[in-house]
């Protein structure tokens, strides 16, 4: 199962990135979560054929990558890995919507192609920003911020535990699969039947572990909520970061900046 294995080493790579110290990393997680949320809303709410309007939004992820000292290539790889899913969502648009909306030189571009590109750009923008949020903040801090911002406790605690135990679970799963593989011969034993039993016993083991973890929590006085001993502070840098970015999103969302810029430059040159 090397594929799954490496996938999980990757999660810890995100953790290493999040442990850096930069202007962006030092910001209060709540400010980053809120700004990211607003960014996603602004991007998603654009017109379904918007392409040029989306372009200025790329400044935000770039801004995070540069100030947060993050590897660009790493994120590009992540996006390429995920892109097939999005291609399938938009792939039929060019066939369904053939009304010509734009001419680039001799080439006519249909509305379908425009909406396809629009979907693709939106995917790149939103997913990269979500990655960047975790890489500049850390998963735990994101959960903490969500809770402080009023997300239901059950939800944030679930996320925290998911992140803590996914490693243990994958480890256990990989060991079971390996144990099965070592006793499979000539393709016998690899079928669905054995697999369903494997999944079943993984579930039972997980339930057992859940019970032991619950016991460990009770032993240390758990009474229904998880507390973290950390002070969060919204100060001047946070306000500056949020206000600046929100203003930028608003501007870019309301006005089609590339178009305005284009007409302005054309008029000047005429």
């Amino acid at each position: 199962m090397p594929a799954i294995d490496t996938g999980f080493y990757d999660i810890s790579h995100l953790d290493t990135l999040a442990a850096q110290d930069s202007v962006i990393h030092r910001l209060d997680p709540r400010a980053k979560v809120l700004t990211t949320l607003c960014f996603v809303l602004a991007v998603v709410s654009c017109d379904s054929h918007a392409v040029s309007q989306l372009m200025p939004f790329f400044f935000f992820p770039l801004f995070l990558i540069v100030l947060g000292n993050l590897p660009v290539l790493y994120f590009c790889k992540k996006l390429i890995l995920l892109s097939p899913f999005v291609l399938f969502i938009g792939i039929f648009n060019p066939f369904l919507d053939r009304t010509v909306m734009l001419h680039i030189g001799p080439m006519a571009v249909s509305g379908g192609w425009l909406s396809f590109f629009s979907i693709f750009l939106r995917f790149i923008l939103t997913v990269s920003v979500a990655f960047l949020l975790v890489a500049t903040t850390g998963f735990t801090a994101v959960c903490m911020a969500l809770e402080k911002l009023g997300a239901p406790k059950v939800f944030t605690v679930q996320l925290l535990f998911l992140y803590r135990y996914i490693f243990v679970l994958v480890d256990e799963g990989v060991r079971m699969v390996r144990a099965r593989a070592l006793r499979c011969f000539n393709g016998r034993g690899t079928g669905l039947h054995a697999f369903s039993q494997l999944i079943g016993s993984l579930l039972l083991r997980t339930l057992d572990r859940a019970q032991r973890i619950h016991m460990a929590m009770q032993c240390r006085g758990f009474r229904g909520d998880i507390r973290l001993n950390r002070q969060l502070r919204i100060g001047r840098p946070e306000i500056l970061f949020m206000a600046g970015n929100l203003l930028f999103f608003l501007l870019v969302r309301i006005y089609n900046v590339p178009q305005l810029l284009g007409t302005f430059l054309l008029e000047r040159s005429l």
């Binding site: 810890s12 953790d15 442990a19 998963f139 735990t140 925290l160 535990f161 992140y163 803590r164 135990y165 490693f167 243990v168 572990r209 032991r212 973890i213 016991m215 460990a216 929590m217 009770q218 032993c219 240390r220 006085g221 758990f222 009474r223 998880i226 507390r227 973290l228 001993n229 002070q231």
Partner: protein, 248 residues
């Protein structure tokens, strides 16, 4: 001083599926004693330990910790007094970072933030793991995990430490380091284990549990000298007390 006494009187426990795990266990452990609980697999050791801080309630009989009988009402106080270290550190370290994990208990005791911080740092220093404070538990080695698990209990300032198989899964050096660490603790210690050499190092008293009952209770050296008793309870002499297979 009547403080920190662990008293178990005619303790019985039957699981919902009808297994009689404990059939009348009684003993008395005094302040500062270090006691090993040994026995074969399935003898009832874990069930017994789970009664000491009220995770399981007795079907019959009584458990007293210090001046308090174990009841639902006294449970929070008893859980603070009795620190429980589990066999699998992955079960015990459930928080996203070492610091958060060690702070979990004190925060639940409603201590103020600075006090929690002080306690976490002191506990991590005691087990020599302060440098691991920001690491996520899944990235620690077996020995480190065990140390942090112990710190997560020490931060609640317990009077009694209960440990289930503290040396399992450790390499020889980590095991030795653990033994010397535990030897420095002044707490009342109750250790359930199959590692009889560890018992020789740490515990002056041993209780053998066999089929849910106390088979023997006395000084460790005396009990480990009794070959018949040991083999009747599916145990063997610690390696150190056996003749050397090479030179003798």
């Amino acid at each position: 001083m009547s403080h920190h006494i662990v008293e178990v009187r005619d303790l019985q426990h039957t699981y919902p599926d009808g297994t009689h795990a404990l059939r009348g266990v009684s003993f008395l452990i005094h302040h500062g004693e270090s006691v090993a609980i040994v026995g074969a697999n399935g003898a009832g050791k874990s069930t017994l330990l789970q009664h000491l801080n009220g995770y399981l309630m007795p079907t019959a009989g009584q458990v007293r910790i210090g001046d308090l009988p174990l009841t639902r009402k006294t449970m929070p106080e008893i859980r603070r007094t009795v620190g429980m270290v589990f066999q699998d550190p992955d079960d015990q370290l459930f928080m996203p970072s070492v610091y958060d994990d060690v702070a979990f208990g004190p925060l639940n005791l409603d201590l103020p933030g600075e006090e929690v911080d002080k306690r976490v740092i002191r506990a991590l220093e005691t087990v020599e793991a302060l440098h691991l404070r920001d690491r996520p538990p899944y990235k620690l080695s077996g020995g480190q995990k065990r140390r942090v698990a112990i710190a997560s209990v020490l931060s609640m300032a317990p009077d009694i430490l209960v440990m289930d198989e503290p040396s399992s899964g450790l390499d020889p050096r980590a095991r030795n380091q653990l033994i010397s660490l535990l030897a420095t603790f002044r707490h009342t210690k109750i250790i359930a284990t199959h590692d009889l050499d560890l018992v020789l190092d740490l515990c002056e008293r041993t209780i053998i549990i066999h089929e849910g009952q106390v088979m023997a209770d006395g000084p460790t050296t005396e009990i480990f000298g009794n070959t018949e008793l040991l083999s009747a309870s599916h145990l063997e002499k610690p390696l150190r007390m056996q003749g050397c297979p090479v030179c003798s």
